[in-house]
Subunit: 321 residues, 2 copies
Protein backbone atom coordinates (compact mmCIF):
# COMPACT_ATOMS: atom_id res chain seq x y z
CA UNK A 1 0.00 0.00 0.00
CA UNK A 2 1.16 3.53 -0.75
CA UNK A 3 1.20 5.81 2.29
CA UNK A 4 1.74 9.42 1.22
CA UNK A 5 2.76 10.49 4.73
CA UNK A 6 5.88 8.31 4.70
CA UNK A 7 7.71 10.79 2.45
CA UNK A 8 7.37 13.46 5.14
CA UNK A 9 9.29 11.25 7.59
CA UNK A 10 11.98 10.11 5.10
CA UNK A 11 15.42 11.66 4.86
CA UNK A 12 17.85 11.77 1.97
CA UNK A 13 21.39 12.95 1.33
CA UNK A 14 20.46 16.57 2.13
CA UNK A 15 17.63 16.13 4.60
CA UNK A 16 17.17 14.67 8.04
CA UNK A 17 13.68 15.20 9.40
CA UNK A 18 13.07 16.87 12.74
CA UNK A 19 10.23 15.55 14.88
CA UNK A 20 9.13 17.63 17.86
CA UNK A 21 8.88 15.37 20.93
CA UNK A 22 5.57 16.06 22.70
CA UNK A 23 5.81 19.37 20.86
CA UNK A 24 9.09 20.81 22.13
CA UNK A 25 9.28 19.54 25.69
CA UNK A 26 12.56 21.29 26.42
CA UNK A 27 11.03 24.72 25.78
CA UNK A 28 7.27 24.48 26.16
CA UNK A 29 4.96 22.34 28.30
CA UNK A 30 4.72 18.88 26.78
CA UNK A 31 1.63 17.69 24.97
CA UNK A 32 -0.14 21.06 25.02
CA UNK A 33 -1.63 23.04 22.18
CA UNK A 34 0.65 25.91 23.21
CA UNK A 35 3.67 23.66 22.79
CA UNK A 36 2.51 22.28 19.46
CA UNK A 37 1.80 25.78 18.14
CA UNK A 38 5.29 26.92 19.19
CA UNK A 39 6.86 23.91 17.46
CA UNK A 40 4.99 24.64 14.24
CA UNK A 41 5.97 28.33 14.47
CA UNK A 42 9.60 27.20 14.42
CA UNK A 43 9.10 25.41 11.10
CA UNK A 44 8.99 21.92 12.60
CA UNK A 45 6.15 20.18 10.80
CA UNK A 46 6.36 16.71 12.35
CA UNK A 47 4.78 16.31 15.77
CA UNK A 48 5.18 13.36 18.10
CA UNK A 49 2.67 13.09 20.96
CA UNK A 50 0.94 10.56 23.21
CA UNK A 51 -2.67 9.47 23.23
CA UNK A 52 -4.71 7.77 25.91
CA UNK A 53 -8.47 7.34 26.07
CA UNK A 54 -10.67 8.61 28.89
CA UNK A 55 -13.36 6.58 30.66
CA UNK A 56 -15.94 8.23 28.42
CA UNK A 57 -14.02 7.34 25.28
CA UNK A 58 -12.31 10.63 24.44
CA UNK A 59 -8.77 10.34 23.04
CA UNK A 60 -6.61 12.84 24.95
CA UNK A 61 -2.99 13.88 24.60
CA UNK A 62 -0.98 13.03 27.70
CA UNK A 63 2.01 10.78 28.31
CA UNK A 64 1.63 8.75 31.46
CA UNK A 65 -1.21 6.38 32.28
CA UNK A 66 -1.71 8.26 35.51
CA UNK A 67 -1.92 12.02 35.96
CA UNK A 68 1.51 13.01 37.19
CA UNK A 69 2.07 15.15 40.29
CA UNK A 70 5.05 16.98 38.84
CA UNK A 71 3.01 18.16 35.84
CA UNK A 72 -0.60 18.60 36.91
CA UNK A 73 -2.19 21.39 38.93
CA UNK A 74 -5.81 21.35 40.01
CA UNK A 75 -8.31 24.08 39.24
CA UNK A 76 -7.09 26.06 42.25
CA UNK A 77 -3.50 25.98 40.99
CA UNK A 78 -2.25 23.46 43.54
CA UNK A 79 -0.03 20.56 42.56
CA UNK A 80 -1.82 17.26 42.52
CA UNK A 81 -1.51 15.45 45.86
CA UNK A 82 -2.09 11.91 47.03
CA UNK A 83 -2.70 9.03 44.67
CA UNK A 84 -2.23 9.88 41.02
CA UNK A 85 -5.53 9.05 39.28
CA UNK A 86 -5.56 7.05 36.11
CA UNK A 87 -6.53 8.89 32.94
CA UNK A 88 -8.75 5.99 31.87
CA UNK A 89 -10.67 6.25 35.17
CA UNK A 90 -11.60 9.89 34.51
CA UNK A 91 -14.00 11.55 32.12
CA UNK A 92 -12.94 14.28 29.71
CA UNK A 93 -14.85 16.81 31.80
CA UNK A 94 -12.59 15.95 34.78
CA UNK A 95 -9.42 16.43 32.77
CA UNK A 96 -10.62 19.70 31.28
CA UNK A 97 -10.32 21.30 34.74
CA UNK A 98 -6.62 20.63 35.10
CA UNK A 99 -3.63 22.80 34.30
CA UNK A 100 -0.62 21.15 32.65
CA UNK A 101 1.20 24.38 31.75
CA UNK A 102 4.21 23.87 33.95
CA UNK A 103 6.50 21.53 35.82
CA UNK A 104 7.10 21.35 39.54
CA UNK A 105 10.70 22.55 39.49
CA UNK A 106 11.49 20.79 42.76
CA UNK A 107 10.54 17.37 41.34
CA UNK A 108 13.08 15.12 39.65
CA UNK A 109 11.10 15.33 36.43
CA UNK A 110 10.86 19.10 36.60
CA UNK A 111 14.60 19.42 37.08
CA UNK A 112 15.19 17.61 33.80
CA UNK A 113 13.71 20.56 31.87
CA UNK A 114 14.88 23.80 33.48
CA UNK A 115 14.11 25.90 30.38
CA UNK A 116 10.54 24.70 29.92
CA UNK A 117 8.17 27.68 30.08
CA UNK A 118 5.75 27.85 32.98
CA UNK A 119 2.27 28.70 31.72
CA UNK A 120 -1.06 29.12 33.42
CA UNK A 121 -4.30 27.66 32.14
CA UNK A 122 -2.83 25.20 29.66
CA UNK A 123 -5.15 22.24 29.27
CA UNK A 124 -4.73 18.58 28.41
CA UNK A 125 -5.76 18.65 24.74
CA UNK A 126 -8.07 16.22 23.10
CA UNK A 127 -6.69 14.55 19.98
CA UNK A 128 -9.45 16.45 18.21
CA UNK A 129 -7.96 19.79 19.32
CA UNK A 130 -4.57 19.05 17.78
CA UNK A 131 -6.21 17.76 14.61
CA UNK A 132 -8.15 21.02 14.39
CA UNK A 133 -4.95 23.05 14.79
CA UNK A 134 -3.21 21.32 11.91
CA UNK A 135 -6.30 21.45 9.71
CA UNK A 136 -5.95 25.21 9.28
CA UNK A 137 -4.69 26.40 5.87
CA UNK A 138 -1.24 27.34 7.23
CA UNK A 139 -0.58 23.83 8.49
CA UNK A 140 -1.41 21.56 5.57
CA UNK A 141 2.18 20.30 5.53
CA UNK A 142 2.08 19.09 9.14
CA UNK A 143 2.20 15.36 9.87
CA UNK A 144 1.46 13.47 13.06
CA UNK A 145 3.42 10.74 14.79
CA UNK A 146 0.60 9.55 17.02
CA UNK A 147 1.82 7.36 19.88
CA UNK A 148 -0.76 5.00 21.29
CA UNK A 149 -0.03 4.58 24.99
CA UNK A 150 -0.17 1.08 26.34
CA UNK A 151 -1.95 0.35 29.59
CA UNK A 152 -0.05 -2.40 31.42
CA UNK A 153 -3.19 -3.33 33.38
CA UNK A 154 -5.16 -3.82 30.18
CA UNK A 155 -2.82 -5.98 28.12
CA UNK A 156 -5.19 -8.97 28.29
CA UNK A 157 -8.34 -6.96 27.59
CA UNK A 158 -8.53 -7.42 23.81
CA UNK A 159 -11.96 -5.82 23.58
CA UNK A 160 -10.98 -2.74 25.58
CA UNK A 161 -7.77 -2.29 23.59
CA UNK A 162 -9.64 -2.56 20.31
CA UNK A 163 -12.17 0.02 21.53
CA UNK A 164 -9.39 2.44 22.43
CA UNK A 165 -7.74 2.10 19.02
CA UNK A 166 -11.12 2.50 17.37
CA UNK A 167 -11.77 5.71 19.30
CA UNK A 168 -8.44 7.14 18.15
CA UNK A 169 -8.90 6.07 14.54
CA UNK A 170 -12.39 7.57 14.52
CA UNK A 171 -11.04 11.03 15.38
CA UNK A 172 -8.27 10.90 12.77
CA UNK A 173 -10.76 9.76 10.14
CA UNK A 174 -13.38 12.32 11.14
CA UNK A 175 -10.75 15.06 10.82
CA UNK A 176 -9.65 13.63 7.45
CA UNK A 177 -6.06 13.27 8.55
CA UNK A 178 -5.40 9.59 7.89
CA UNK A 179 -3.01 10.51 5.07
CA UNK A 180 -1.01 12.78 7.41
CA UNK A 181 -0.80 10.44 10.40
CA UNK A 182 1.51 7.60 11.38
CA UNK A 183 0.43 5.23 14.16
CA UNK A 184 3.28 4.74 16.59
CA UNK A 185 3.69 2.55 19.69
CA UNK A 186 5.90 0.41 21.88
CA UNK A 187 2.89 -1.90 22.11
CA UNK A 188 3.11 -4.01 19.00
CA UNK A 189 -0.26 -5.54 19.77
CA UNK A 190 -1.90 -2.13 19.55
CA UNK A 191 -0.13 -1.57 16.23
CA UNK A 192 -1.54 -4.88 14.95
CA UNK A 193 -4.97 -3.64 15.97
CA UNK A 194 -4.30 -0.39 14.06
CA UNK A 195 -3.42 -2.30 10.93
CA UNK A 196 -6.62 -4.30 11.23
CA UNK A 197 -8.90 -1.34 11.95
CA UNK A 198 -7.19 1.33 9.86
CA UNK A 199 -5.05 -0.21 7.13
CA UNK A 200 -4.85 3.19 5.44
CA UNK A 201 -2.34 4.36 8.08
CA UNK A 202 1.23 3.06 8.32
CA UNK A 203 2.64 1.81 11.61
CA UNK A 204 5.77 2.90 13.40
CA UNK A 205 7.49 0.53 15.84
CA UNK A 206 9.15 1.93 18.93
CA UNK A 207 11.95 -0.08 20.51
CA UNK A 208 14.28 0.27 23.45
CA UNK A 209 16.80 -2.26 24.64
CA UNK A 210 16.67 -2.95 28.38
CA UNK A 211 20.28 -1.95 29.05
CA UNK A 212 19.39 1.75 28.95
CA UNK A 213 17.99 3.10 32.16
CA UNK A 214 14.51 4.55 32.37
CA UNK A 215 13.84 8.28 32.34
CA UNK A 216 12.76 9.80 35.64
CA UNK A 217 9.09 10.64 35.83
CA UNK A 218 7.99 8.71 32.77
CA UNK A 219 6.01 5.53 32.27
CA UNK A 220 7.84 2.88 30.33
CA UNK A 221 5.90 0.78 27.86
CA UNK A 222 8.56 -1.60 26.70
CA UNK A 223 6.81 -4.40 28.57
CA UNK A 224 4.35 -4.48 25.69
CA UNK A 225 7.10 -4.95 23.10
CA UNK A 226 8.35 -8.41 22.10
CA UNK A 227 11.61 -9.71 23.54
CA UNK A 228 14.26 -7.90 21.54
CA UNK A 229 17.18 -9.42 23.38
CA UNK A 230 16.58 -12.99 22.25
CA UNK A 231 19.33 -14.61 20.25
CA UNK A 232 19.07 -14.04 16.52
CA UNK A 233 16.60 -11.16 16.76
CA UNK A 234 17.51 -8.53 14.19
CA UNK A 235 15.19 -5.72 15.19
CA UNK A 236 14.78 -4.03 11.79
CA UNK A 237 13.98 -7.41 10.22
CA UNK A 238 11.43 -8.08 12.91
CA UNK A 239 9.77 -4.68 12.35
CA UNK A 240 9.66 -5.21 8.61
CA UNK A 241 8.29 -8.75 9.01
CA UNK A 242 5.60 -7.40 11.33
CA UNK A 243 4.53 -4.92 8.66
CA UNK A 244 6.03 -1.75 10.13
CA UNK A 245 7.07 1.09 7.86
CA UNK A 246 9.04 3.10 10.44
CA UNK A 247 11.47 1.82 13.03
CA UNK A 248 11.92 4.13 16.03
CA UNK A 249 14.77 2.93 18.22
CA UNK A 250 16.22 4.62 21.27
CA UNK A 251 19.19 6.61 19.98
CA UNK A 252 21.67 4.63 22.09
CA UNK A 253 20.51 1.38 20.49
CA UNK A 254 21.42 2.10 16.87
CA UNK A 255 24.57 1.35 14.95
CA UNK A 256 25.68 2.03 11.40
CA UNK A 257 24.78 -1.56 10.61
CA UNK A 258 21.25 -1.55 12.02
CA UNK A 259 20.40 1.81 10.41
CA UNK A 260 21.67 0.58 7.05
CA UNK A 261 19.81 -2.73 7.42
CA UNK A 262 16.55 -0.93 8.23
CA UNK A 263 16.87 1.37 5.26
CA UNK A 264 17.74 -1.58 3.02
CA UNK A 265 14.47 -3.15 4.15
CA UNK A 266 12.62 0.02 3.17
CA UNK A 267 12.03 1.17 6.74
CA UNK A 268 12.39 4.78 7.79
CA UNK A 269 14.58 5.17 10.90
CA UNK A 270 13.44 7.80 13.41
CA UNK A 271 15.57 7.86 16.58
CA UNK A 272 14.37 9.19 19.95
CA UNK A 273 14.84 11.25 22.14
CA UNK A 274 17.99 13.01 21.06
CA UNK A 275 18.78 16.20 22.96
CA UNK A 276 22.52 16.63 23.45
CA UNK A 277 24.56 18.17 20.61
CA UNK A 278 27.06 15.29 20.56
CA UNK A 279 24.25 12.76 20.30
CA UNK A 280 22.52 14.78 17.59
CA UNK A 281 25.79 14.88 15.66
CA UNK A 282 26.21 11.13 15.98
CA UNK A 283 22.69 10.55 14.62
CA UNK A 284 23.47 12.89 11.72
CA UNK A 285 26.63 10.89 10.99
CA UNK A 286 24.58 7.67 11.05
CA UNK A 287 22.30 9.11 8.36
CA UNK A 288 19.05 8.35 10.14
CA UNK A 289 15.86 9.52 8.47
CA UNK A 290 14.52 11.52 11.37
CA UNK A 291 15.46 12.75 14.83
CA UNK A 292 12.89 13.03 17.61
CA UNK A 293 13.93 15.74 20.09
CA UNK A 294 12.70 17.77 23.03
CA UNK A 295 14.74 20.61 21.50
CA UNK A 296 13.78 20.53 17.82
CA UNK A 297 15.26 24.01 17.27
CA UNK A 298 18.62 22.75 18.50
CA UNK A 299 18.45 19.88 16.01
CA UNK A 300 17.60 22.27 13.18
CA UNK A 301 20.63 24.36 14.09
CA UNK A 302 22.93 21.31 14.18
CA UNK A 303 21.64 20.23 10.76
CA UNK A 304 22.35 23.66 9.27
CA UNK A 305 25.86 23.56 10.76
CA UNK A 306 26.40 20.30 8.86
CA UNK A 307 25.08 21.78 5.61
CA UNK A 308 21.85 19.82 5.89
CA UNK A 309 18.23 20.83 6.29
CA UNK A 310 14.98 19.29 7.51
CA UNK A 311 12.64 20.17 4.70
CA UNK A 312 12.53 19.68 0.96
CA UNK A 313 12.11 23.43 0.72
CA UNK A 314 15.70 24.64 0.63
CA UNK A 315 16.94 27.67 2.47
CA UNK A 316 16.78 29.80 -0.67
CA UNK A 317 13.20 28.71 -1.26
CA UNK A 318 12.48 30.38 2.07
CA UNK A 319 9.83 28.04 3.43
CA UNK A 320 7.34 30.18 5.25
CA UNK A 321 6.86 29.62 8.93
CA UNK B 1 6.43 63.20 38.47
CA UNK B 2 4.40 60.03 38.81
CA UNK B 3 5.22 57.42 36.21
CA UNK B 4 2.65 54.61 36.29
CA UNK B 5 4.94 52.23 34.37
CA UNK B 6 7.51 52.12 37.16
CA UNK B 7 5.33 49.80 39.23
CA UNK B 8 5.54 47.18 36.50
CA UNK B 9 9.33 47.12 36.83
CA UNK B 10 9.41 47.14 40.65
CA UNK B 11 9.87 44.07 42.78
CA UNK B 12 8.86 43.37 46.35
CA UNK B 13 9.27 40.62 48.93
CA UNK B 14 7.37 38.14 46.76
CA UNK B 15 8.10 39.41 43.27
CA UNK B 16 11.13 39.84 41.06
CA UNK B 17 10.25 41.06 37.60
CA UNK B 18 11.37 39.19 34.50
CA UNK B 19 12.37 41.23 31.46
CA UNK B 20 12.80 39.44 28.14
CA UNK B 21 16.11 40.50 26.56
CA UNK B 22 15.50 41.33 22.89
CA UNK B 23 12.44 39.13 23.36
CA UNK B 24 13.93 35.82 24.40
CA UNK B 25 17.22 35.71 22.52
CA UNK B 26 18.17 32.29 23.84
CA UNK B 27 15.11 30.68 22.27
CA UNK B 28 13.85 32.88 19.46
CA UNK B 29 15.56 35.27 17.02
CA UNK B 30 16.37 38.51 18.83
CA UNK B 31 14.45 41.69 18.20
CA UNK B 32 11.80 40.07 16.00
CA UNK B 33 8.03 40.18 16.30
CA UNK B 34 8.11 36.38 16.39
CA UNK B 35 10.42 36.53 19.40
CA UNK B 36 8.38 39.16 21.19
CA UNK B 37 5.17 37.24 20.60
CA UNK B 38 6.75 34.07 22.02
CA UNK B 39 7.94 35.97 25.09
CA UNK B 40 4.48 37.36 25.71
CA UNK B 41 2.97 33.90 25.22
CA UNK B 42 5.16 32.72 28.10
CA UNK B 43 3.64 35.28 30.44
CA UNK B 44 6.62 37.65 30.35
CA UNK B 45 5.11 41.11 30.03
CA UNK B 46 8.26 43.25 30.12
CA UNK B 47 10.18 43.51 26.86
CA UNK B 48 13.67 44.92 26.40
CA UNK B 49 14.72 45.77 22.84
CA UNK B 50 16.98 48.10 20.85
CA UNK B 51 16.02 50.99 18.62
CA UNK B 52 17.98 52.73 15.89
CA UNK B 53 16.69 55.15 13.28
CA UNK B 54 16.99 54.63 9.52
CA UNK B 55 18.21 57.23 7.04
CA UNK B 56 14.59 58.06 6.26
CA UNK B 57 13.73 58.51 9.92
CA UNK B 58 12.02 55.22 10.77
CA UNK B 59 12.75 53.82 14.25
CA UNK B 60 13.59 50.14 13.79
CA UNK B 61 14.34 47.38 16.27
CA UNK B 62 17.85 46.02 15.86
CA UNK B 63 20.86 45.90 18.16
CA UNK B 64 24.08 46.81 16.37
CA UNK B 65 24.76 50.05 14.49
CA UNK B 66 25.70 47.97 11.47
CA UNK B 67 23.78 45.06 10.01
CA UNK B 68 25.58 42.00 11.30
CA UNK B 69 26.77 39.16 9.05
CA UNK B 70 26.02 36.46 11.58
CA UNK B 71 22.35 37.53 11.83
CA UNK B 72 21.26 38.95 8.49
CA UNK B 73 20.40 37.14 5.27
CA UNK B 74 19.59 38.94 2.03
CA UNK B 75 16.41 38.46 0.05
CA UNK B 76 17.91 35.39 -1.63
CA UNK B 77 18.63 33.76 1.70
CA UNK B 78 22.39 34.30 1.61
CA UNK B 79 24.33 35.54 4.59
CA UNK B 80 25.43 39.13 4.29
CA UNK B 81 28.92 39.41 2.80
CA UNK B 82 31.51 42.17 2.56
CA UNK B 83 31.23 45.39 4.50
CA UNK B 84 28.40 45.48 7.02
CA UNK B 85 26.21 48.49 6.10
CA UNK B 86 25.13 50.94 8.74
CA UNK B 87 21.45 50.94 9.66
CA UNK B 88 21.38 54.75 9.60
CA UNK B 89 22.69 54.72 6.01
CA UNK B 90 19.77 52.62 4.80
CA UNK B 91 16.10 53.35 4.26
CA UNK B 92 13.34 51.31 5.83
CA UNK B 93 12.52 49.85 2.42
CA UNK B 94 16.06 48.42 2.26
CA UNK B 95 15.77 46.80 5.68
CA UNK B 96 12.35 45.35 4.93
CA UNK B 97 13.96 42.98 2.40
CA UNK B 98 16.22 41.31 4.92
CA UNK B 99 15.75 38.14 6.94
CA UNK B 100 16.84 38.16 10.58
CA UNK B 101 15.17 34.90 11.53
CA UNK B 102 18.29 32.95 12.34
CA UNK B 103 21.93 32.93 13.34
CA UNK B 104 24.88 31.69 11.33
CA UNK B 105 25.74 28.75 13.55
CA UNK B 106 29.36 28.73 12.44
CA UNK B 107 29.91 32.31 13.66
CA UNK B 108 31.14 33.09 17.16
CA UNK B 109 27.91 34.95 17.87
CA UNK B 110 25.77 32.13 16.53
CA UNK B 111 27.54 29.61 18.73
CA UNK B 112 26.54 31.58 21.82
CA UNK B 113 22.86 30.69 21.25
CA UNK B 114 22.66 27.07 20.10
CA UNK B 115 19.00 26.74 21.03
CA UNK B 116 17.79 29.83 19.20
CA UNK B 117 15.17 28.82 16.61
CA UNK B 118 16.04 29.27 12.95
CA UNK B 119 13.15 30.92 11.13
CA UNK B 120 12.65 32.04 7.57
CA UNK B 121 11.17 35.37 6.54
CA UNK B 122 11.48 37.12 9.90
CA UNK B 123 11.90 40.85 9.35
CA UNK B 124 13.55 43.67 11.24
CA UNK B 125 10.51 45.22 12.93
CA UNK B 126 9.74 48.88 13.08
CA UNK B 127 9.11 50.24 16.57
CA UNK B 128 5.60 50.81 15.29
CA UNK B 129 5.13 47.09 14.68
CA UNK B 130 5.95 46.17 18.26
CA UNK B 131 3.75 48.98 19.58
CA UNK B 132 0.90 47.62 17.46
CA UNK B 133 1.43 44.11 18.87
CA UNK B 134 1.16 45.27 22.47
CA UNK B 135 -1.80 47.53 21.74
CA UNK B 136 -4.07 44.53 21.22
CA UNK B 137 -6.58 43.84 24.02
CA UNK B 138 -4.66 40.77 25.28
CA UNK B 139 -1.49 42.76 25.88
CA UNK B 140 -2.61 45.79 27.85
CA UNK B 141 -0.35 44.73 30.74
CA UNK B 142 2.80 44.72 28.61
CA UNK B 143 5.49 47.35 29.23
CA UNK B 144 8.47 48.35 27.13
CA UNK B 145 12.09 48.86 28.11
CA UNK B 146 13.09 50.78 24.98
CA UNK B 147 16.85 50.98 24.55
CA UNK B 148 18.07 53.89 22.47
CA UNK B 149 21.20 52.77 20.65
CA UNK B 150 24.08 55.17 20.62
CA UNK B 151 25.98 55.87 17.41
CA UNK B 152 29.66 56.40 18.29
CA UNK B 153 30.17 58.38 15.05
CA UNK B 154 27.37 60.74 15.93
CA UNK B 155 28.19 61.65 19.55
CA UNK B 156 28.99 65.27 18.61
CA UNK B 157 25.96 65.68 16.32
CA UNK B 158 23.50 67.20 18.79
CA UNK B 159 20.92 68.00 16.14
CA UNK B 160 21.00 64.51 14.63
CA UNK B 161 20.78 62.91 18.06
CA UNK B 162 17.80 65.05 19.00
CA UNK B 163 16.11 64.18 15.72
CA UNK B 164 16.56 60.46 16.40
CA UNK B 165 15.11 60.74 19.90
CA UNK B 166 12.24 62.80 18.54
CA UNK B 167 11.48 60.16 15.91
CA UNK B 168 11.31 57.47 18.60
CA UNK B 169 9.20 59.58 20.97
CA UNK B 170 6.81 60.40 18.12
CA UNK B 171 6.03 56.72 17.55
CA UNK B 172 5.49 55.97 21.24
CA UNK B 173 3.21 58.98 21.56
CA UNK B 174 1.32 58.20 18.36
CA UNK B 175 0.69 54.69 19.68
CA UNK B 176 -0.38 56.11 23.07
CA UNK B 177 2.17 54.03 24.92
CA UNK B 178 4.10 56.69 26.84
CA UNK B 179 2.65 55.41 30.13
CA UNK B 180 3.83 51.87 29.32
CA UNK B 181 7.35 52.72 28.17
CA UNK B 182 10.67 53.33 29.90
CA UNK B 183 13.49 55.01 27.95
CA UNK B 184 16.69 53.09 28.46
CA UNK B 185 20.28 53.68 27.32
CA UNK B 186 24.00 53.49 27.98
CA UNK B 187 24.17 56.92 26.38
CA UNK B 188 23.29 59.29 29.18
CA UNK B 189 23.23 62.19 26.73
CA UNK B 190 20.43 60.54 24.79
CA UNK B 191 18.56 60.02 28.07
CA UNK B 192 18.94 63.72 28.85
CA UNK B 193 17.44 64.45 25.44
CA UNK B 194 14.56 62.08 26.27
CA UNK B 195 13.86 63.91 29.50
CA UNK B 196 13.79 67.20 27.61
CA UNK B 197 11.61 66.01 24.72
CA UNK B 198 9.40 63.55 26.57
CA UNK B 199 9.30 64.28 30.29
CA UNK B 200 6.28 62.00 30.61
CA UNK B 201 8.53 58.95 30.29
CA UNK B 202 11.00 57.84 32.98
CA UNK B 203 14.61 57.09 32.11
CA UNK B 204 16.61 53.96 32.82
CA UNK B 205 20.40 54.16 33.06
CA UNK B 206 22.49 51.27 31.77
CA UNK B 207 25.95 50.79 33.25
CA UNK B 208 28.82 48.36 32.82
CA UNK B 209 32.18 48.54 34.48
CA UNK B 210 35.12 48.10 32.11
CA UNK B 211 36.57 45.07 33.92
CA UNK B 212 34.01 42.76 32.37
CA UNK B 213 34.87 41.58 28.90
CA UNK B 214 32.67 42.42 25.94
CA UNK B 215 30.26 39.95 24.44
CA UNK B 216 31.24 38.46 21.08
CA UNK B 217 29.30 39.86 18.17
CA UNK B 218 27.77 42.83 19.97
CA UNK B 219 28.38 46.55 19.78
CA UNK B 220 29.34 48.08 23.09
CA UNK B 221 27.96 51.50 23.93
CA UNK B 222 29.65 52.15 27.24
CA UNK B 223 31.79 54.80 25.55
CA UNK B 224 28.76 57.07 25.75
CA UNK B 225 28.43 56.58 29.51
CA UNK B 226 30.24 58.83 31.98
CA UNK B 227 33.42 57.57 33.67
CA UNK B 228 32.12 55.21 36.33
CA UNK B 229 35.56 54.21 37.59
CA UNK B 230 36.54 57.63 38.92
CA UNK B 231 37.25 57.85 42.61
CA UNK B 232 34.23 58.59 44.75
CA UNK B 233 31.69 57.73 42.06
CA UNK B 234 28.77 55.90 43.65
CA UNK B 235 26.87 54.78 40.59
CA UNK B 236 23.36 54.65 42.10
CA UNK B 237 23.85 58.14 43.52
CA UNK B 238 25.00 59.38 40.13
CA UNK B 239 21.97 57.84 38.41
CA UNK B 240 19.60 59.37 40.97
CA UNK B 241 21.26 62.77 40.73
CA UNK B 242 20.96 62.62 36.93
CA UNK B 243 17.23 62.03 37.26
CA UNK B 244 17.10 58.33 36.46
CA UNK B 245 14.35 56.15 37.89
CA UNK B 246 15.85 52.78 37.01
CA UNK B 247 19.45 51.65 37.34
CA UNK B 248 20.43 48.80 35.04
CA UNK B 249 23.87 47.49 35.90
CA UNK B 250 25.67 44.53 34.42
CA UNK B 251 24.94 41.65 36.80
CA UNK B 252 28.61 41.17 37.67
CA UNK B 253 28.85 44.78 38.84
CA UNK B 254 26.30 44.69 41.66
CA UNK B 255 26.76 44.00 45.35
CA UNK B 256 24.38 43.82 48.26
CA UNK B 257 25.48 47.36 49.17
CA UNK B 258 24.91 48.95 45.76
CA UNK B 259 21.53 47.30 45.31
CA UNK B 260 20.44 48.45 48.76
CA UNK B 261 21.76 51.97 48.13
CA UNK B 262 19.90 52.24 44.83
CA UNK B 263 16.65 51.05 46.39
CA UNK B 264 17.15 53.48 49.29
CA UNK B 265 17.40 56.24 46.69
CA UNK B 266 14.11 55.11 45.17
CA UNK B 267 15.67 53.58 42.08
CA UNK B 268 14.53 50.30 40.64
CA UNK B 269 17.40 47.89 40.01
CA UNK B 270 17.18 45.80 36.82
CA UNK B 271 20.26 43.66 36.18
CA UNK B 272 21.33 42.39 32.74
CA UNK B 273 21.87 39.92 31.05
CA UNK B 274 21.51 37.05 33.47
CA UNK B 275 21.35 33.62 31.88
CA UNK B 276 23.07 31.02 34.04
CA UNK B 277 21.10 29.45 36.91
CA UNK B 278 23.79 30.24 39.49
CA UNK B 279 23.84 33.89 38.41
CA UNK B 280 20.05 34.08 38.43
CA UNK B 281 20.07 32.65 41.97
CA UNK B 282 22.62 35.25 43.08
CA UNK B 283 20.47 38.06 41.70
CA UNK B 284 17.45 36.62 43.51
CA UNK B 285 19.46 36.57 46.73
CA UNK B 286 20.44 40.22 46.17
CA UNK B 287 16.76 41.12 45.96
CA UNK B 288 17.01 43.08 42.72
CA UNK B 289 13.79 44.45 41.29
CA UNK B 290 14.09 42.87 37.88
CA UNK B 291 16.22 40.43 35.90
CA UNK B 292 16.87 40.91 32.20
CA UNK B 293 17.51 37.54 30.54
CA UNK B 294 17.87 35.86 27.16
CA UNK B 295 16.07 32.93 28.81
CA UNK B 296 13.14 34.55 30.61
CA UNK B 297 11.43 31.19 31.03
CA UNK B 298 14.44 29.90 32.91
CA UNK B 299 14.28 32.89 35.25
CA UNK B 300 10.57 32.30 35.86
CA UNK B 301 11.33 28.71 36.79
CA UNK B 302 14.13 29.74 39.17
CA UNK B 303 11.81 32.25 40.84
CA UNK B 304 9.14 29.60 41.36
CA UNK B 305 11.75 27.27 42.86
CA UNK B 306 12.52 30.00 45.40
CA UNK B 307 8.84 30.52 46.22
CA UNK B 308 8.73 33.79 44.31
CA UNK B 309 6.86 34.96 41.26
CA UNK B 310 7.18 37.68 38.59
CA UNK B 311 3.68 39.09 38.60
CA UNK B 312 1.33 40.55 41.15
CA UNK B 313 -1.20 37.97 40.02
CA UNK B 314 -0.39 35.02 42.21
CA UNK B 315 -0.31 31.46 41.00
CA UNK B 316 -3.73 30.72 42.40
CA UNK B 317 -5.14 33.75 40.62
CA UNK B 318 -4.11 31.96 37.43
CA UNK B 319 -2.96 34.91 35.36
CA UNK B 320 -3.96 34.17 31.80
CA UNK B 321 -1.25 33.89 29.21
Amino acid sequence: MHFPQLAAFSGNADIIRVIGHRGARGIMPENTIEGFAFTLDCGVTLLEFDVSVTRDGVPVITHNNHLTKSIVRDKDGNWLRGIEPKVSDLDWSDLAQLDVGGLDGLSEYGQRFPDQAFLYNARIPRLHDLCALISTPDHQDVHLMLELKSDPEKLEDAKGRAADVAAVVAVVREMQLTDRTIMHSFDWGLLAECKRLAPEMPTSFLTKLPNNSSDAGEDQATNASPDLTAANVCIPDLVAQTGGRLWCPHYLDVTEETVARAQQLGLGVAVWTVNEPKDIDRMIALNVDAIVSDYPGRVQRRLLNHGLTWSSQSVTDKPSN
